[in-house]
Subunit: 342 residues, 2 copies
């Protein structure tokens, strides 16, 4: 750790972010394998300047970890449930270790079957999905991942929270480069965006939320009390509903409504399920993925030719920068985190 | 067929729509099993007042069917490609018979594996996806279906057609009622919406298209010459790209760019692939789907309680009406179709 020229910033290497996170999480009583999995994800998020899932999340993690509902030493139970299905019961611990423990069997099944699913149940979830997508693209597989969250979002035509912010992420492996990856919430914005606007006394654009009667509002506080909206109108609303059904009902797990009820107002990380689908391009293409790879690369070249950016390009640029130069966090955040150390 | 009170409408039963479509298609030289599959879909679309895929499409079908590139008697080749994968080579015929022929094996694999995929290749495609989704929900399975189309749509931040209108459809079986089904294009609107606005000399809303330099336009003709846009900004653009990769590159098939090149300006139905994913709630839930069904029904009740509509409700209402009372089409359309009879 070094002081940056600006006195209000602290410069850390990515390894230092990992070490600091690990010490805080273990200090809060989180079992070692869980703490390592979470610290890896926090460090990766900070590295990629995906700030909403980086060190900012650590205080919230400590709150979740120390809650009574949370199992700090949960041992994920991996079940070979069917030829194309791995089920992992996270046992009320974090999702990340459950994902890691189920991953080898998921990869094996996808390589054999063409497509395979991993259903994680009873997991607390705080992380972005792209690190999990990248774990699959690293193996040469395409991946589609989704989870519910808490029922803050009204369906199209509605006025009350029913759907979660329900993220969906997808990855496609590219030869000799970063994968094509997107990871977005199906809500118009993140709930924290509303909170930031409320704190700053700034109006929000139309389309972010509605009041309790379903009327459009540009007041952040009113939207936080009413309901958020999905992106993309009735299409985004349909997609968000699909995520409730696929990563909830299909795998016998909580919807965002159920997850919110389970939370009992404690504001912990949501506890629900997660659905991970993995596809092997070798099998799916009928044994010869070469033509598909050429078609995909031609598609990506079409983005570049017209000056359009691929979804994760900024994140990959931040990654290169952070690995070379380290990451800067505000002194205030650093002090807040150091204060969490035992 | 009876004359309606209004002289400019013709009333047909759903069976008459099927018969008429079948005669036209067979008259155009389409092999009997193909003609039956297409006529079934046209009749179902007309029945559900999904007009864009009903009898209006019949003249376009005749054009495609009589084109040199099209195989009127193609026999779909079903391959048991992997434990969780059916591959069907449509042999440059329509997709619908290929779907029907591959369906039993897909269902069997999903019931055994939890999830299974059907990859259809070399198929001409004109139909909505919800009839295929319903074929799977009828078997108690959840379904996710997607296809590319032609490269009319610019990616977010771009200015040239690169992505297709790329429809995605999803279905969830409900006990004792119609399934939850959505089916939408990932473009902001259908290409025909732009054509209708152009014909009527009406401006289009912002967000539908851009001119050749990527500037927003409210002129339909300019957008038709420039590019369409996806729904939902960069999120819709990412989703559309996923469809190119999943229903194109992954299965070794044409992207929308490739499909458009294959068409050589003939304006036939696009010829590409299709990806169908089927999920068995019994297997995916770990053997007990009851809790998931309860959670799903609670979600749907949440829509009704706040006056929000489920995606296919209007279609199901039209279905009931059409089965009871028949369907009305304009005399002009009827005459146009009768003129296609041999």
């Amino acid at each position: 750790m070094t002081m940056s020229e600006a006195d209000d910033l602290v410069l850390l290497s990515v390894d230092e972010v990992f070490d600091l996170s690990l010490r805080v999480l273990e200090g809060a009583g989180l079992g070692r394998p869980h703490a390592e999995a979470v610290a890896r994800t926090l460090a990766a998020s900070q590295r990629d300047e995906c700030h909403s899932h980086g060190l900012h999340r650590l205080p919230g993690c400590v709150m979740t970890v120390t809650a009574e509902k949370f199992a700090r030493d949960a041992e994920p139970e991996v079940a070979d449930a069917a030829p194309a299905l791995v089920r992992v019961d996270a046992g009320y611990g974090y999702s990340l270790l459950a994902f890691e423990r189920g991953l080898p069997l998921l990869v094996e099944k996808a390589r054999r079957g063409g497509v395979a699913a991993m259903a994680i149940s009873n997991c607390f979830h705080f992380s972005a999905l792209w690190p999990e997508v990248e774990a699959l693209t690293d193996q040469g597989l395409a991946a589609l991942v989704m989870t519910p969250s808490h029922a803050w979002v009204a369906p199209a035509g509605g006025r009350k929270g029913l759907l979660g912010t329900n993220p969906i992420a997808f990855g496609w492996p590219r030869p000799g480069g970063h994968p094509y990856v997107f990871d977005f919430a199906t809500s118009a914005v993140a709930r924290s965006d509303l909170a930031l606007h409320k704190a700053a006394g700034k109006p929000i654009p139309e389309g972010w939320g509605v009041d309790g009667d379903g009327n459009p509002t540009t007041d952040a506080a009113t939207a936080l009390e009413g309901a958020m909206l999905t992106f993309g109108g009735h299409k985004g609303s349909a997609l968000s509903t699909m995520i409730e059904l696929m990563a909830g009902a299909l795998i016998g797990e909580r919807t965002s409504l159920d997850s919110m009820a389970f939370d009992e107002g404690l504001k912990l990380a949501p506890c629900h399920g997660e659905l991970v689908l993995a596809f092997d391009p070798v099998v799916m293409s009928g044994g010869d993925p070469a033509e598909g790879i050429v078609r995909a690369e031609a598609l990506f070249a079409g983005f570049a030719a017209q000056g359009a950016r691929l979804p994760s390009e900024r994140r990959y640029a931040a990654r290169a920068r952070s690995l070379a130069e380290g990451v800067s966090i505000s002194r205030a955040l650093h002090e807040r985190i150091v204060a969490l150390l035992p």
